[in-house]
């Protein structure tokens, strides 16, 4: 059994968190999924994790339309943080706001539309393989 991918999902709709959890269960990567429901909580979670209080994520799934701090702001925070700036980010959004996503293109690794499709997710994972070379595949 290899190391698990630790995923942080920033998503205000808890239904989507559950759906994502279920989808990823069927995938070939073993994972733990933590979720926070807005931009402020995301930064709080990451700050705590940096101090050893929780797991630093290997991958962040980020919704853009978030209450309080929006996704773009959280992405800016992550990319400017010494410890976090290499963490891959996938944007997860509803299909209806393509322009909204364009803004973050240079700062993120992959885009997913809701509901998350497993094949699309794994395509993203392969893209960021170089970031995750330490993670061994978990043959179920």
């Amino acid at each position: 059994m290899g190391k698990q991918i630790s995923i942080l999902m920033v998503e205000d709709n808890y239904g989507d968190v559950i759906l994502t959890e279920e989808t990823l269960l069927d995938g070939k990567f073993s994972n733990t999924l933590n979720s926070v429901s807005n931009g402020e909580e995301a930064i709080q979670y990451l700050e705590d994790a940096k101090k050893g209080n929780g797991t630093l994520p290997d991958l962040i799934l980020m919704d853009i339309n978030l209450p309080r701090l929006n996704g773009h702001e959280v992405i800016a925070y992550i990319r400017n943080d010494e410890m976090l700036k290499e963490t891959p980010i996938f944007i997860v959004s509803s299909s209806s706001a393509p322009n909204d996503m364009e803004k973050s293109r240079p700062f993120v690794q992959h885009y997913l539309t809701k509901p998350i499709d497993l094949m699309e997710f794994e395509k993203g994972i392969r893209k960021i393989d170089q970031f995750l070379f330490s993670i061994t595949k978990n043959e179920k």
Binding site: G15, E22, S94, S96
Partner: protein, 419 residues
């Protein structure tokens, strides 16, 4: 111009009147027309000032007021148009006029001979020696009046002069009601446009915001079906399938509504469109349906034309989709597109040999959410042709239908050539 006092010449007056009517008819610019007409009349009857007052009521108190709206003055006479005293006057100030005017009769007077009072005072203050006032009646109401001032002589107004001025005034009444009707139409058109925009905005927001909760319903139903298949009996599974089916149809409706509200929002530049290439792309898109039904699809004249590509593609796609869907059962669909070039437009004729449409439904099929079949017979949101019509009208064209039930249907649509 004849400035002689030869006002007894009937032909001459008729000619003047004719000129006046043409001015009112020709000029869409109101001020310009009034200026022309008043100058013509003023010079002809040799008066010093002509003005038009409108009756109105104070929106707060309901008091009856009059205001000067337009004025012409002879050279050397002091204009009164900017005189603030001539705006929002209580009607009593000219009470002497009112009785005859309300009886649709002229008021004429030599100011010196008038009884003392408000009216005499205000006329004297403007150096008016002699005055003629004619009412303007529109739709059975006294709308206002026209006044003619003589500041140089105490003239008595002759009958022919009076007739001429009365017919001028009646022409003006007609012109005013025409103008009011026009303004009303413009106002209505603006109002309609605004409502339309609001509706589109509403449709966009509603359909956009409905997508999220709907996705929750359908995704969790699917998840439920997948994970609890063993503990749910056949009846339960049927119920879930109905619910999933309903949410899928609703999703289609929402997407169509979203598309309907977006038509015309992102119109691209006009380009040369190769109809054959476009048609081939569409056939590729429907390759499964076409092969399964052995459909025969013909493009009669593969031309190139200048137009907006993606809306045209969308229109042809919707028509092809319908033609494949409403084919005669057990017959291979036969579909045909013919394009006719006319002087200012292209005419498209899209014919299928399908189930046809009863003529009584020709208008209904283009209306949003109108369907002629149950969802068990033919699936669909009832928006395809509404979207199609909106796209075509957005490009400046029109769409209509001809059909023989149980035999064929032809959708005709026009696309104007770019200027």
């Amino acid at each position: 111009m004849n400035t002689s006092q030869n006002s007894s010449d009937n032909n001459f007056l008729l000619k003047k009147n004719f000129e006046i009517v043409s001015i009112f008819l020709e000029y869409s610019n109101w001020t310009l027309a009034l200026n022309q007409v008043f100058a013509l009349v003023g010079e002809h009857v040799q008066v010093d000032r002509i003005y038009f007052f409108e009756n109105h009521t104070d929106s707060l108190t309901g008091e009856e007021l009059i205001s000067q709206r337009f004025e012409w003055v002879k050279n050397g006479i002091e204009p009164m148009l900017d005189n603030p005293d001539l705006q929002n006057l209580p009607i009593e100030i000219v009470s002497d006029f009112m009785l005859p005017l309300h009886n649709n009769k002229p008021f004429k007077a030599i100011v010196r001979e008038m009884p003392d009072g408000n009216t005499k005072e205000i006329l004297s203050s403007q150096d008016i020696l002699s005055i003629l006032v004619l009412p303007i009646w529109i739709e059975g109401k006294m709308y206002g009046f026209i006044g003619f001032d003589d500041c140089t002589s105490e003239r008595g107004w002759g009958e022919e002069e009076l007739n001429f001025l009365q017919s001028t005034t009646s022409n003006l009444s007609t012109a005013i009601s025409r103008r009011n009707a026009m303004l009303e139409v413009e106002k209505k058109a603006k109002e309609l446009e605004r409502i339309n925009q609001e509706l589109e905005q509403f449709a966009y927001v509603a359909s956009h915001d409905l997508q999220e909760p709907l996705r929750m319903i359908s995704e969790f139903l699917k998840l439920f079906e997948k994970k609890y298949a063993e503990v749910v009996d056949e009846k339960g599974k049927t119920y879930i399938r109905y619910a999933v089916d309903g949410s899928i149809r609703m999703k289609k409706i929402i997407l169509d509504l979203l598309e309907f509200s977006r038509v015309g929002k992102n119109i691209n530049a006009i380009e040369e469109v190769d109809i054959e290439g476009l048609f081939d792309d569409l056939k590729l898109l429907y390759i499964n349906k076409i092969e399964a039904s052995k459909a025969e699809i013909n493009l009669i004249n593969p031309i190139k034309l200048l137009t907006w590509k993606s809306p045209l593609e969308q229109v042809l796609m919707n028509l092809l989709d319908n033609a494949l869907k409403y084919a005669k059962p057990d017959f291979a669909p036969k579909i045909e597109l013919q394009i006719e070039e006319q002087e200012n437009q292209w005419l498209f004729h899209f014919t299928d040999h399908g189930i046809g449409i009863d003529p009584q439904y020709f208008n209904r099929i283009f209306v949003i959410f109108q369907r002629l079949h149950t969802k068990e017979e033919y699936e669909g949101s009832g928006m395809g042709l509404a979207i199609t019509k909106k796209i075509i009208e957005n490009m400046g064209g029109q769409i209509w239908v001809e059909s023989e039930p149980k035999a064929w249907t032809t959708f005709h649509f026009s696309l104007p050539k770019p200027k």
